[in-house]
């Protein structure tokens, strides 16, 4: 048993943490994350240059990592710095590009020259993608898509959008180049888009990608869990610092036992969140993958909301202000539960799946 990061992972973590601490200012973030294209092209280029995107792909496919642990290491630092760069959409889109042999695109995305996003969900399909309705139609070797996709994270400004749609064989994955999007900021910053398709011509990457989509969504969930762990860690640090500095009734509010206990409960939640994320990383690729990933996403949803609400409350009015960084961390932690299935979706997924047990 060893819960320490490998030397390579420690180096990736340190590099990213140092870069973001030195170069990623929250004031600038709050400007960029709410105005189109909802991120900074310079920051993206720099992050790609550090090998951040390459860490999502194995060496044999042109990257420098590719394991769930690589993904978790990157996203924990993204979360700690509250980085609003379009990392999630890139991770999921890039993995599918690699799955379907798009070597040139993989190289361009890893190098930061191109960006991709992934369109799976639709207004009525929130977690289980078997409910999607978008349809693909084939005419000779040309493919056309019809339907409405939504919750396309990081799509504004992306060069390629990978789109899931029904084919005769299952659910396929298609590639659209700079499609016209309905774009918005997310409540917690960063870009999101809908894609309305009425015979949009696309390239078919695979007419049946059901298994790959399932895998990439689970990996995205692991990424979100790790991001949440990073954000929780920093938000609790901010809360403790504030309580040590804020004085009311002639003393630091950190000295009030009733308030201390509430921070202790936040810390317990953080440790639970960290542990279930480790469990999900370990289960990735195993028969228990989807069940343990759902446990992680469910727990993170609950813990994230608890820590966010308590952090705001313990700060008082300051925690309610746009100017205070902690407020934005709290928003992110609450809104992570709205991505790739929330605590309810995943509770139902856990309840409906039987654990695989090794024979005693």
């Amino acid at each position: 048993m060893d819960f320490n990061l490998s030397e390579d992972h420690q180096m990736l973590s340190d590099t990213l943490r140092r870069f973001l601490a030195d170069n990623y200012e929250i004031e600038a973030r709050n400007e960029q994350a709410y105005a189109a294209p909802y991120h900074s092209a310079d920051t993206w280029e720099a992050l790609a240059g550090l090998g951040t995107v390459g860490a999502f792909i194995s060496e044999e496919r042109g990257g420098f990592g590719g394991s769930a642990e690589d993904v978790a290491v990157v996203f924990e630092e993204i979360g700690r710095a509250l980085c609003a760069e379009p990392m999630l959409g890139t991770l999921m889109g890039l993995r599918l590009l690699a799955d379907f042999g798009c070597e040139e695109l993989v190289e361009a995305v890893i190098g930061g020259e191109a960006r991709c996003a992934l369109a799976i969900y639709e207004p009525q399909a929130a977690c289980d993608f078997s409910h999607i309705k978008a349809e693909a139609r084939q005419e000779g070797d040309r493919w056309f898509l019809t339907g409405r996709k939504s919750a396309i994270y990081g799509a504004p400004g992306a060069d390629y959008v990978l789109v899931a749609a029904r084919t005769g064989q299952g659910i396929g994955i298609f590639l659209a180049e700079k499609p016209e999007l309905i774009e918005a900021a997310m409540i917690d910053g960063g870009g999101i888009a809908d894609l309305v398709m009425d015979g949009l011509q696309v390239k078919c990457l695979s007419p049946d990608a059901t298994r790959q989509i399932e895998d990439v969504l689970d990996l995205g969930r692991i990424a979100l869990c790790a991001e949440a762990v990073g954000a929780m860690t920093h938000l609790i640090e901010l809360t403790v610092d504030y309580m040590k500095q804020r004085k009311q009734f002639g003393r630091e509010i950190a000295s009030f036992q009733a308030l201390q206990h509430r921070v202790v409960d936040m810390l317990v939640e953080l440790e639970q969140a960290r542990s279930i994320t480790i469990a999900a990383v370990a289960a990735y690729g195993s028969p228990d993958q989807s069940r343990v990933v759902s446990m992680a996403k469910n727990l993170i949803g609950r813990a994230g909301r608890h820590i966010a609400e308590e952090a705001i409350q313990l700060h008082g009015g300051i925690g309610m202000t746009w100017e205070y960084p902690g407020a934005h961390y709290a928003k992110r932690l609450v809104m992570i539960d709205h991505q790739l299935g929330d605590r309810t979706d995943h509770a139902l997924r856990i309840a409906s799946s039987a654990p695989t047990r090794e024979a005693a």
């Binding site: 709410y34 207004p123 939504s150 009311q248 929330d342 979706d345």
Partner: protein, 394 residues
């Protein structure tokens, strides 16, 4: 035991309902339903309509221009308003300063100020909290130093709600540094156009602007603007806070929020299942409904006590604690029900680009905004202190 309102009270409720039905402007009701901050003009327009009916200053006695309602009638009125998407009138002039002047003000202050509150000529805001004095209000530092017939005021107030609309502010200021903190505070009325007074907006977590900071730099304020005696401010402040806590349970708001959740749940589909048919959501909503029904009765029990003159700070603290917990859990439920559709910032999208109704699309900012409920008006931790102090008294 009888949980029903009397015949007269029921007749009053019907009158309020039909009045709201006939007179509440559609645009105002829609803004309330969408959880938007109302325009000043909308609030004043509604105030003028209420004023025609004599229903603006709901907490004031008849001789001062109020309707002279009982506590039960006030409760019925505020509940019906919430259920019909009528805006909560800004309480600063109507429910705070008004009652303070009626109790502590000079005859001249009453004659000059009260009519201007009722007809909307003056918009008052509250200068209580300071950057260093929130829960510990008595530690406030804004100083008022006597100079002839004026006070010279220096300091800073914060969390001044809707100050951007106001032309006047009532403040707690320090007039004596030599005594214990509570004994050196005075209650002072200040014109916001006084030289040396500056208001700056504070942007909140949801991106909106509803609170402000107010800076005082050598602002000259006539001594005649003092309410009550010099250094009587703490007594007045405590009196005012009991008025701030009327309708603190927010039963009407919560009832409305639960109704909105059920409407949404019938409409929104996730993974091909209506939220209304999802047993987890159904159970969560049912539990909140049980909490709310209990609080409704608790509120009526406290109301009956008030009528009998026996209610105090502990009762209103209990109502605030549970009432804010219920409302916050409803905001959480509503936001959660939308799943991924709660994520886009609705203000970036036109109505026909949205996949859910616009009030639903604003669920997340409204949820974040409502985190204030457990912070303002005496943070819930302070309410617990009030109850604990009584519970563990000597």
């Amino acid at each position: 035991m009888n949980l029903e309102f009397s015949d007269d009270e029921r007749a009053f409720r019907d009158e309020v309902r039909s009045f709201l039905n006939d007179r509440l402007p559609d645009d105002v009701a829609r803004a309330v339903a969408e959880g938007r901050e109302l325009e000043k003009e909308q609030i004043l327009r509604w105030q003028a309509i209420l004023n025609e009916k004599g229903w603006v200053a709901t907490t004031w006695p008849k001789e001062n221009g109020g309707p002279g309602w009982t506590a039960v009638e006030r409760h019925i009125f505020s509940e019906e308003c919430a259920l019909n998407n009528a805006p909560r009138m800004p309480p600063f002039g109507l429910n705070m300063l008004g009652p303070v002047l009626i109790k502590f003000g000079s005859e001249q202050q009453k004659a000059e100020i009260l009519p201007r509150i009722i007809d909307g000529t003056d918009w008052w805001c509250q200068g209580y909290s300071e950057p260093g004095a929130g829960s510990d209000l008595a530690s406030l530092k804004t100083r008022a130093v006597r100079d002839g017939d004026d006070y010279i005021v220096n300091g800073q107030k914060t969390w001044t709600t809707l100050g951007q609309h106001a032309n006047k502010i009532f403040c707690l200021v320090r007039t004596d540094n030599e005594v214990k903190p509570q004994a050196g505070i005075s209650f002072l009325l200040v014109d916001l156009d006084t030289p040396g007074v500056e208001m700056r907006p504070i942007r909140l977590i949801d991106g909106g602007y509803e609170v402000n900071e107010v800076f005082f730099t050598d602002a000259r304020v006539p001594v005649a603007n003092l309410v009550g005696e010099e250094n009587q401010g703490w007594t007045i402040a405590k009196y005012l806070l009991t008025h701030e806590r009327t309708n603190i349970a927010g039963i009407g708001f919560a009832t409305k929020d639960l109704e909105r959740f059920h409407e949404l749940a019938a409409e929104v589909t996730r993974d091909s299942q209506r939220i209304a048919d999802n047993p987890i959501y159904a159970a969560r909503a049912a539990e909140i409904e049980a909490d709310l029904e209990a609080l409704r009765i608790t509120n009526l029990r406290m109301l009956a006590k008030t009528r009998d003159g026996a209610a105090g700070g502990v009762e209103s603290s209990l109502l605030k604690l549970k009432g804010t917990q219920i409302r916050q859990s409803l905001q959480d439920l509503y936001r959660s029900a939308l799943g991924p559709q709660a994520a886009p910032n609705a203000d970036d999208l036109s109505d026909n680009e949205l996949t859910v109704p616009v009030d639903a699309a604003r669920a997340a900012p409204v949820y974040f905004n409502h985190r204030k409920l457990s912070i303002f008006g005496g943070a819930n931790e302070i309410q617990r202190n009030i109850v604990a102090k009584e519970l563990f008294r000597g």
